[in-house]
Amino acid sequence: MTLNPQMPKCWRVESKPHKFCPGCGHGLVLKALGEAIDELGIQDRVVFGCDIGCSLLTWDFFDVDTVQTHHGRTTPVITGLKRANPDAIGIAYMGDGGGYAIGSQHLVNAAARNEKITVILANNTNYGMTGGQMAPTTLPGQKTETSPYGRDAEDIGYPTQGPEMVAAIGQKGAYVARGTMANIRQLKGYFKKALQNQMDGTGFSFVEALASCPTNWRTNAKDTWNFVENEMSKYFAVGELKVPDQLKEV
């Protein structure tokens, strides 16, 4: 008997090892997502859209129908698809740049319209794909390629509070949470609720996941964990921000 890796069933094994860097948080986030899809048994119905950002590397990541879209535009593509085919389970996967910067009008308006889709956003405090520029989520003092002397929060603000913003504009029936790669079980739970909420037709679902980018952070494994667990958590509170009634007992 050959033993196989403990990959989620919906991961596309032919494209593994995946294209992310060593230690990349995207891998962990997508493992949690894959398990959530498996456990809900929805592989056949999922349409996965990935943004441009390191998320683009997932264009053949899952054994589910997948569309690699354009930077910031995954939310409208999945929205349009879901509106046209309400039976599909639409997942829009993106980074903090794609979701909070160039695609923020789509995010807040999809939330405002209570689109029945699930948006998952990997917050790694920088623009990973383009080589580590400042993102809306970059921490105060954090050095990036476009904040070489550290982000000056007086001048350009503190990190964007995405789920808080979405919760503020979110509607009755919306599900909003922030998880972390440091707690995969919890993160998977959030993903399951976010997908269940869509399947129930209740409302918009949004989960931010704190994720590592060791390449651009220039961190070793130890510092990577430290950054995720101790630095990011100073600014980004993990937990559920909005849970519709029908998911409360879950």
């Binding site: 294209k19 992310f20 860097c21 990349c24 390191c54 683009l56 590397l57 794909m129 390449t215």
Partner: protein, 188 residues
Amino acid sequence: MGKTAKIALAGEGGQGVQSVAEILAEAAYEEGREAIYIPNFGVEQRGGVSIAYLQISDQPIGSPKFQKADIVVALSDRAVIRTQRYVDERTTFVYDTSIEGVEEHLPKNAGRVFGIPAIEVSKTELHPRVFNIIIMGAVIRATEVVTLDEAKTAIEKKLGYKFDENPKLREMNYQALEAGIALVEKAL
């Protein structure tokens, strides 16, 4: 050397081919010659093969990329495959002998093909971290595009601040450079 020397260096992300090319280009520039160095870059750089294109000449250089290289150095299996396209009958193709099963992928049409045990030497004789400097030595010897002295100056410029902290490093780098030269000499 009236003609332009065209060099493609390819390896995995961590193997440092880009800094080899950059240092060589700097060395040529410091010698007062024309040099163009351009890295490959793409969305798959995350886990992809890294290629450095280098041209050194006494005249202004045309296109920054080229169709066929005078010398190709490929340091991994995938690098060997990806660089096939730059090879023709005038190309010298250098690969690392420690790549498993590489033989079947080696270009058939190259002018000459030879392997050097650079990975091996770096691991056993020197230090994995100077692997790319060995490669640099190999390229210098194979192409003779820059002098050893200029190469040393360029390394000094690039890594000098590290050498100041740890002078042993300078020693090791110079040894690596000479090791690379020797490897090619042996193979030729």
